[in-house]
């Protein structure tokens, strides 16, 4: 209780359950004190295992987990001063909301009046006062989540670990509880680590987004970085919002290179992040879906656009503030343009129309 720092460092953390395959394979990561960190990846990528290792429910096969400057491997959750919020909340069915929240204080031997007073203060904080005497089964999903949060937070942990906290809720509630999680994190001022497979959730909440695949970290950084500047094809596709194209480098000229593709003149890509490109390399590039403009054939391209790919409209989905237009621009790969609603309906396309897909040259991003 002397050390209240909740910064976390994972150093070479590995986990294998059977000794042969690694669920978590050499993860290195630093999470700042008081950060909201989201681990994101498909199921089975090891994100929950990392969470459970930080929580103390699983021991790493190799590597160190350092919280607040102290290696916590082998310590019980209480000694680590972490608390976990389980995926299905794991509220004790035989205890009321108040007793559930007071449980951690009860096992620490706090007197009944003291612990119930502390629980009531916490109940106030999560706005559940009128439900204090209910059983978990008599609460809605959102209320159960708040109880779980309060139960985990009452021990004043340095780190709160949340295992897919929003997956049990319906869409509308999810957005609402997302806000609540962020509010609680600010109020408590502690490190939150949140595991999810929904990229929207991750970028909406996190200071630090960690994208994982098969036990390895693919990219870690601020939400905007990960979304707008994915390192590689996997991150770009997983985070969404990007069109990924691949091709061979045709020529390299100064600050840009040209990718051979279906386009008559190839695709011009600025060099920025990838200085080491030579002719003949196979390269993936990403173009944000909302950067793609659609122009009818024969019309002038918008300023700054040098590439235009002839495409046919495959499908159109109205999404409210934008229209999702699916195109057959690249064989075998999805190519989608998010056209602002007003732009689209000024000159609407129909399925089967031939259009030119184009984007400002500077917005194309070469991937690793």
């Amino acid at each position: 209780m002397k050390n209240d720092r909740g910064d976390i460092e994972l150093a070479g953390v590995c986990k294998s359950f059977d000794g042969a395959t690694y669920v978590v394979d050499g993860v290195n990561l630093k999470i700042a004190d008081g950060a909201y960190c989201c681990f994101i990846g498909p199921s089975g990528c090891g994100k929950t295992t990392i969470l459970r290792m930080i929580a103390g429910h699983e021991d790493p096969t190799a590597g160190e987990i350092v919280i607040g400057g102290q290696n916590v491997v082998g310590l019980a959750p209480v000694q680590r001063r972490t608390a976990m919020m389980f995926q299905s909340y794991a509220l004790f069915p035989h205890l009321t909301v108040r007793e559930n929240i007071a449980f951690a204080l009860r096992v620490r031997g706090m007197s009944k009046t003291d612990r119930l007073r502390a629980a009531d203060a916490m109940i106030e904080k999560v706005r559940l006062s009128q439900f204090a005497d209910r059983l978990p089964a008599q609460l809605s999903g959102g209320q159960q989540q708040r109880v779980a949060l309060a139960r985990a937070a009452i021990t004043e942990p340095r780190v709160l670990l949340l295992d897919e906290p929003l997956s049990a809720l319906d869409e509308q509630l999810r957005v609402q509880m997302r806000q609540e999680l962020r509010r609680m994190q600010r109020e408590l001022g502690i490190t939150f680590i949140h595991v999810t497979h929904t990229q929207l959730e991750a970028i909406a909440l996190a200071d630090l987004v960690v994208v994982m695949e098969q036990g390895k970290i693919k990219q870690a950084g601020p939400a905007r970085d990960v979304y707008a500047h994915p390192h590689d094809r996997y991150v770009a596709e997983f985070m969404g919002g990007q069109n990924v194209l691949s091709g061979r480098v045709e020529k390299v000229n100064g600050a840009s290179f040209t990718l051979a593709q279906a386009a008559p003149d190839g695709i011009e890509v600025p060099l920025q992040a990838r200085p080491t490109v030579s002719v003949g390399d196979k390269v993936d590039i990403a173009v944000r879906r909302d950067d793609v403009a659609l122009v009818r054939p024969g019309k002038d391209l918008p300023p700054g656009c040098t590439t235009s790919l002839p495409s046919r409209v495959l499908a159109i989905e109205y999404q409210g503030y934008f229209v999702k237009v699916m195109l057959d621009t690249v064989p075998d790969d999805e190519f989608v343009a998010y056209v602002p609603e007003k732009t689209f309906f000024a000159d609407p396309f129909t399925v089967g129309d031939v259009v030119m897909a184009t984007w400002a040259t500077g917005s194309a991003l070469p991937l690793a």
Binding site: A55, G56, H57, A76, P77, V78, A83, M84, F86, S88, A90, L91, F92, P93, H94, T96, F103, A104, R106, V107, R108, A132, D133, R134, L135, Q138, R151, A152, T155
Partner: protein, 296 residues
């Protein structure tokens, strides 16, 4: 097919009745067939016992068969006073005590087995099948073997040693099976949550597992008690010189020729019902207590 069509008053008109369940009117004929079958089943189940109960309330002229001769509690008094009817009170006493001991051991061991089988371990299936094997083994043979073993070891067979062991070989597998069913509905994340919140192993068992599993534990206890209370085959060769109640009843059927035998049947049934009622009452009470606390 044609018959179906012929039955329809107007094939063209939109359907006014549902295909399977008629919307108005009575139940389908199958309901009455099944109801009759069920009534017969209940009669066959309880009829024989009712004969015993009814005949136990005859007066002093009563015999072992219908028709009923008078009505009185004569045979109940006779049961507990006459020496020639055997040691009913003593055997009843022993049976209750034995059942209580068996219940205690069964609940504790079944609960521990439930805890042990939460995770798979090396040889768990072997342990499980060996346990089930004792359910399949013929009780009489098992009892005989236990008796022989005690004799060979130079121990005296008695109701609280050899008979206790023989009965446990019967109640434990049952208790463990019930416990498995109960445990399968226990979410192990609750244990993990308790650990996460700082509970020791013992605290997690005492504050989370036992309260959540309480109704199931009562069910195990009920099994243990009733199985022991009327256990016959395994006790026969192991009870030693002093009889348990089922053994006493059996020996009475051989030499008592009065309705006091039936009176004994009535009394033991009442005891059984009290035990079952108390168990179910406890389960209801546990659940009610949880319900009432929640209304704040």
């Amino acid at each position: 097919m044609s018959a179906v069509l012929a039955d329809m008053p107007d094939a063209v008109a939109p359907a006014t009745t549902k295909a399977i369940a008629p919307s108005k009117g009575g139940r389908p004929w199958t309901f009455y067939v099944l109801a009759a079958l069920f009534t017969f089943y209940v009669l066959a189940l309880y009829g024989p016992m009712f004969c015993i109960y009814v005949l136990s309330f005859q007066d002093i002229r009563g015999g072992l068969v219908f028709p009923m001769k008078g009505q009185s509690l004569h045979w109940f008094v006779d049961l507990f006073t006459q020496v020639r009817t055997g040691d009913v009170k003593g055997s009843f006493d022993r049976s209750i005590k034995l059942a209580v001991i068996v219940t205690g051991i069964t609940v504790v061991v079944s609960f521990l087995a439930g805890l042990g089988f939460r995770k798979r371990f090396r040889g768990d299936t072997v342990v499980f099948y060996m346990m089930i094997g004792s359910l399949v083994a013929p009780g009489l043979v098992l009892g005989l073997g236990t008796g022989l073993l005690f004799q060979a070891l130079g121990l005296n067979a008695s109701w609280y040693t050899s008979a206790l062991g023989a009965q446990l070989s019967w109640t434990l597998p049952f208790g463990v099976l019930v416990m498995f069913a109960v445990m399968s509905r226990f979410n192990h994340v609750w244990e993990e949550a308790a650990y996460d919140l700082g509970a020791s192993r013992w605290q997690s068992i005492r504050l989370v597992m036992i309260p959540v599993l309480a109704p199931g534990l009562v069910a195990v206890a009920l099994f243990g008690f009733t199985l022991s209370y009327d256990e016959f085959a395994r006790s026969l060769q192991t009870a030693g010189s002093l009889n348990t109640l089922p053994l006493e009843i059996w020996s009475m059927t051989l030499n008592v020729t009065s309705p006091s035998l039936y009176a004994l049947g009535t009394v033991t049934t009442i005891v059984s019902f009290i035990v079952i009622g108390a168990s179910l009452g406890t389960i209801v009470l546990i659940q009610k207590k949880r319900g009432s606390r929640s209304k704040g």
